[in-house]
């Protein structure tokens, strides 16, 4: 079924908001009638292992203020911001994301994610691991699985998974320490940003470090032959030593090596510079980078938190402009560096927010429908998958669970979602269960959906 989407995009002359929405809905309902089972029966395409940047919008970003605006809904639902056209006719997103609007042809927007879990901890686990939280087992998150399964390159000294500045809720679950991320700590936007402990301790210069390593050798040399179990610990130490003494590693984390223009392009705030660092790390061969962007749990005052950033701001520096600036820059940068085809970029949070504004001018938790955005790695851009209803309360079409999304991401990265891990107690745990990758996100499903 998905192959039929190769019909060329029909361009609509700039329609009025209302008519474009209606047209979109009409097109949508035409496709909605097609049997879904046929789509997922397609064999999964063979995919090269790809890198991934996961932009985690922690707290539950409001779908209504980002990628699923409802400008025609009643006042108490539509919120303080308007919707704007994007580079893809028929797709409209929040007016607070103009730069993202200009590159929407690269994006696949999912508007029908749905989950029953509205508490942060539970929802984080579900979205990041593809499994609802269980008392029995701690499931590993997507980046941990990718870090553990993806084979290391021969000369690779950089870690398999880097978290900027920390991993947040993404954990290794029952996987061993090898699946834990390397957390940079700190704030890449600070002028003195350095990754913790990659630099030598003050008063220790290179020659002194060399001597220290020599001394370490003395202890190892004289050790009684010990059980092989120690090999793991030795490897860990080796990796750390390699990282600490590698100029390449230090260079990968050194934002000073980027031009001033490049740094400005991403915007001056932490998220922007973290995205820049992420691009840098991908370029240096790190397979998985997560950026933890906190603050999206906007129970109060949407305007202040999402747009302004501080009261009385003339130019908005809140969450949305920061995201917009950085996200668009990241995708453009990846594209221009030739990295976009091999890098999957995902932006999402654990749930959406209540369609009806609350008494404090904010929105509360709402997992029943929310959005996510994917780009790169061959994902067909310029499309919207699924939709929510008139007020952004429930999925209207093609409800997609976090399981499905996680299965899709595994597939895009080159992993088989049915691959079985073994938990410490011997239980076989597939990467995902009862999940279907979203066919329209997989490479090979050509073209954008005209709306």
């Amino acid at each position: 079924m998905s192959r039929n989407f190769a019909a060329p995009a029909v361009t609509h002359r700039l329609p009025s908001r209302r008519s474009s929405l209606q047209c979109g809905l009409a097109t949508l309902s035409a496709f909605a009638g097609l049997p879904l089972t046929q789509a997922v029966a397609q064999p999964r395409p063979r995919v090269q292992p790809r890198s991934c940047i996961l932009l985690w919008l922690d707290g539950g970003p409001s779908h209504l203020e980002m990628f699923d605006p409802k400008p025609d809904a009643p006042t108490e639902v539509r919120g303080p911001f308007d919707a704007i056209d994007t580079a893809v006719p028929g797709i409209r997103i929040s007016s607070q994301l103009p730069r993202t609007a200009a590159i929407t042809q690269n994006l696949a927007i999912i508007r029908s994610l749905t989950s029953p879990l509205g508490e942060h901890g539970l929802a984080n686990t579900y979205v990041l691991t593809g499994y609802p939280p269980s008392a029995v087992l701690q499931y590993p998150s997507l980046p941990a699985v990718a870090a553990a399964l993806r084979p290391r390159q021969p000369q690779q000294v950089l870690p398999q998974w880097v978290a900027i500045p920390d991993a947040g809720s993404a954990g290794a679950g029952f996987l061993s320490g090898a699946a834990l991320p390397f957390a940079t700590g700190g704030d890449p936007a600070q002028p003195d940003f350095k990754v913790r402990d990659l630099e030598l301790f003050p008063a220790v210069d290179q020659p002194r470090m060399q001597r220290r390593l020599q001394y370490l050798e003395v202890w190892d040399r004289h050790r009684i032959r010990a059980a092989d179990r120690q090999a793991t610990a030795a490897r860990q130490l080796q990796t750390a030593l390699q990282m600490a003494s590698s100029d390449a590693v230090k260079a990968a984390f050194d934002l000073q090596q980027e031009s001033a223009e490049q740094r400005q392009a991403y915007g001056p705030r932490m998220f922007g510079q973290s995205c820049l660092l992420a691009r840098r790390l991908i370029q240096h061969g790190v397979p998985f980078v997560t950026v933890n962007f906190t603050g999206w749990d906007t129970h109060e005052n949407l305007v202040l938190q999402l747009r302004d950033g501080y009261s009385g701001a003339k130019q908005g520096v809140g969450l949305l402009p920061t995201f917009d600036h950085a996200f668009a820059a990241l995708l453009t940068d990846l594209q221009q560096s030739g990295l976009l085809d091999h890098t999957l970029v995902v932006a999402l949070g654990e749930f959406g927010r209540t369609p009806k504004l609350n008494v404090r001018g904010g929105r509360d938790h709402w997992p029943r429908v929310f959005s996510a955005v994917l780009a790169g790695a061959g994902v067909p851009g310029g499309q919207v998958i699924g939709s929510s209803d008139r007020t952004g309360e429930s999925p209207l079409d093609q409800p997609i669970t976090p399981r499905d999304l996680v299965a899709t991401i595994y597939t895009l990265l080159g992993f088989d979602p049915d691959h079985v891990l073994t938990a410490p107690d011997g239980r076989p745990i597939p990467l995902t269960q009862q999940a279907q990758p979203i066919a329209r996100l997989l490479p090979g499903t050509a073209g954008s959906v005209p709306r």
């Binding site: 269980s134 003395v218 610990a233 860990q236 410490p424």
Partner: protein, 736 residues
């Protein structure tokens, strides 16, 4: 509905009405029930057949939503529902009574129709014949019979050469007194298919030396088959296995003898002491004791050292931490008083060696203001009745009851009624600041949709009203051995030996064989007879020869042939030798602080040593980076190969934890330098402190070469680097 349809629906009823009882005994002939004289029984033959074939596993039709719109209960937990699904659903097309070979059930299972599970049965085989026979007989429900016991012959099998094959025969006894050979109806799984397999014709083959298990399941019964094949034909030299009157050593050595595994000799005295201090008190042994032991080692001295350590404050600190983790103690937001009360209560209990059965009973039954009643606070560590039940089950009994939330536990004997019923005991508990039994509150049994009847898991129902927490305490602390004793003993064994007698320690289930089942039982009973004293049972364990073994296996020259990897694994598993484990993060921090003589910074936690940090919910200064255990669900005590995360490794190499301590003017190194001590002195002092031993002559010679400074400043820097390398060395980070 056509007449034909109606007929299909009524036919099974007509036929079953005519058969008032199933034959009392089902004696299965050898393969092939061609003569329908014995009508196959649905519950005791057909359902087990489906179970054995994997039809009702969680991956297939046993899934919550079934598969292909055919849903069976997981592992035949609900025979009545399964009978319905098979004979009545889908207009009874699954069973075709007049032409059985047209039944959907048959055709799909034999791969004659498209079937997601592929071909399960051979259409010409005995299993398919049984199925057809049953359908041909009218697909009767039979008379329900519950098995009460499962007996496998042989149960303990040994052979001297591999591969070794033996036929299995499994008899089931039923509640009505009947018995039957159910060999071909059992689900038999191997714990390690590279070591032991079972054929379709139910004969077992052992492929490797060692001790291996098969888990045999039939309906609600589980039993184990043990196979033992020694590693080498020669017997173990007697000198290696002293006759010991230690309970532990007798059991361990007996298994080693049966397996023909060669035990390592005793660890060097200083290694023994290092292990003792790090495992019992989470700190390095004082150099003066090391020297005392090296000067005059004797059993009497060792006993004295153990007793002094058991009576010390550091022991109390360390075991308060271990119990706090087991019970998931953590602070609640804005209620520091509750945490304080609970941690003081726990520490007092550990300090006075309160019998563990009393401790658990107090925890379970406590009510009152958690800000002053420390025991009551432990009931607030989980948010609701189910989590509370799961925690008690896990911490006190080592049972993973939580798996039985949505279905009967697939691997153990716990049913949904067990789990929800156990949760119902804790439902009427108010977990606010005032912990009290309100008498109001229930949990819904997900199986029935009704309020769950309070229940002791696996044992009996309780009355719907009333406070049953003391019944739970009774259950945990009585029996032979009591569940609490077995669980505690196993966890302590893991702490001291690196691996529980049953692993994982949170899953003491029927399908999880112990390496030394009789030893576990005996030790648990020992704990009871020592009045549930933590110190007494730990003393027993550390004074055993097994605990004191060296971690080096015998080298190839001492054996007829060099050990292969599986033999090395077995040596470690069966404790022919010890295995070194990583020093846990909090112990490492304290050790670094002690060696350098600069205390750790644990703010805002108001404690002086990292092992005293009981609250995982709040930051703890320097403890936070090196892989600290911060999950509320607790880390298993001393996981054998806990790897430091990369960032922690880097922090130890380049961060201030070690670096600022070695160069600080107040540090031990600088004091020693100020007192004019020689290089050799300094090396010896620090080696004793950090590695719990004297430096070897070869090491001293190497250091003499390396430490070639010509000025005092250069000397200081070199010695700082020496100390840095010592604190980053492998040996420092291991418990030998």
């Amino acid at each position: 509905m056509t007449a034909g349809h109606t007929l299909f629906l009524i036919l099974p009823l007509i036929l079953t009405a005519g058969q008032s009882q199933a034959p009392a005994t089902q004696s299965a002939d050898s393969a092939g029930d061609s003569a329908p004289a014995e009508i196959p029984d649905f519950q005791t033959q057909i359902l087990p057949l489906l179970t054995r074939s994997g039809c009702n596993a969680g991956a297939c039709h046993g899934a919550a939503a079934g598969r292909g719109e055919f849903r069976l209960s997981l592992f035949a937990a609900d025979p009545a529902a399964d009978f319905q699904a098979i004979t009545l659903e889908r207009h009874s097309r699954r069973v075709h009574l007049t032409q059985p070979h047209l039944s959907l059930l048959f055709r799909k299972a034999c791969g004659q129709l498209e079937h997601g599970g592929g071909q399960i049965l051979d259409p010409a085989g005995p299993a398919a014949a049984l199925l057809l026979n049953w359908i041909r007989s009218g697909a009767p429900p039979g008379t329900p019979r519950t098995p009460t016991a499962l007996i496998v012959t042989p149960q303990n099998y040994s052979a001297t050469t591999i591969p070794a094959t033996a036929p299995l025969r499994i008899m089931a006894q039923f509640h009505d007194g009947s018995s039957a050979d159910v060999t071909r109806f059992c689900r038999i799984t191997s714990t390690d298919t590279s070591a032991i397999t079972v054929s379709d014709s139910d004969s077992v083959t052992v492929l490797r030396p060692g001790l291996h298990h098969l888990i045999i399941r039939y309906l609600n019964q589980t039993t184990l088959f043990r196979a033992l094949v020694p590693f080498s034909p020669s017997t173990v030299p007697q000198a290696g296995l002293q006759q010991s009157d230690s309970l532990i050593d007798r059991h361990i050595n007996q298994t080693l003898q049966q397996l023909a595994l060669h035990p390592a000799g005793p660890a060097a005295p200083e290694i023994w002491l290092r292990r003792l201090y790090l495992q019992l008190a989470g700190k390095l042994p004082p150099p003066e004791l090391i020297q005392q032991l090296l000067a005059s080692d004797s059993p009497a001295l060792r006993h004295r050292l153990v007793d002094e350590l058991l009576a010390s404050e550091p022991f109390t600190d360390y075991w308060t931490l271990q119990l706090a983790r087991l019970l998931q103690l953590h602070s609640l937001p804005n209620e520091p008083e509750a945490f304080h009360a609970s941690s003081v209560w726990l520490r007092t209990a550990v300090a006075e060696d309160r019998p563990l059965d009393q401790l658990v009973r107090q925890l379970l039954l406590a009510s009152g203001d958690s800000h002053t009643n420390g025991a009551a606070g432990f009931s607030r560590m989980t948010a609701d009745a189910r989590s509370h039940a799961a925690l008690i089950g896990q911490a006190c009994a080592g049972f993973s009851l939580g798996c039985a939330n949505c279905h009967n536990h697939p691997l153990d004997r716990w049913t949904q009624d067990d789990f929800h019923g156990f949760a119902a005991v804790f439902a009427p508990l108010d977990r606010g600041r005032m912990v009290q039994f309100t008498g109001r509150g229930s949990v819904t049994n997900l199986r029935t949709g009704e309020p769950a009847t309070p229940r002791i898991p696996g044992l009996r129902d309780l009355s719907p009203d009333g406070d049953h927490r003391s019944a739970v305490a009774d259950w945990l602390t009585s029996g032979s051995p009591p569940p609490l004793a077995r669980n505690i003993t196993n966890r302590l064994w893991k702490h001291l030996f690196g691996r529980g007698l049953i692993e994982p320690v949170n899953d003491l289930s029927l399908t999880n064989p112990a390496t030394h089942p009789e030893l576990l039982t005996a030790l648990a009973e020992e704990l009871v007879s020592c009045h549930w004293s933590l110190r007494a049972i730990l003393r027993r364990m550390v004074l055993s020869e097994t605990w004191g073994r060296s971690s080096a296996t015998l080298t190839g020259t001492d054996l007829i042939s060099p050990p292969d990897p599986s033999q090395q694994n077995a040596s470690a598993l069966f404790l022919a030798c010890r295995t070194s484990v990583a020093v846990p993060a909090e112990v490492l921090i304290d050790a670094i602080a002690d060696v350098c003589d600069i205390p750790p910074d644990l703010s805002p936690q108001p404690v002086a040593r990292a092992v005293q940090v009981l609250d995982p919910a709040r930051p703890a200064g320097e403890l936070d980076l090196p892989g600290r255990c911060r999950t509320f669900s607790g880390c298993t005590l001393n996981s054998a190969d806990s790897e430091l995360p990369l960032s922690a490794q880097l922090h130890l190499l380049n961060g201030p934890l070690i670096n600022s301590r070695i160069s600080a003017p107040a540090s031990r190194l600088h004091r020693l330098l100020q007192h004019g001590r020689t290089d050799a002195d300094i090396i010896t002092t620090f080696t004793l402190l950090a590695l719990s031993r004297q430096p070897r002559p070869a090491e001293l010679a190497s250091w003499k070469q390396q430490l070639d400074a010509r000025t005092p400043d250069e000397r200081r820097l070199q010695l700082e680097d020496f100390l840095w390398s010592l604190l980053n060395s492998q040996e420092f980070r291991r418990i030998p």
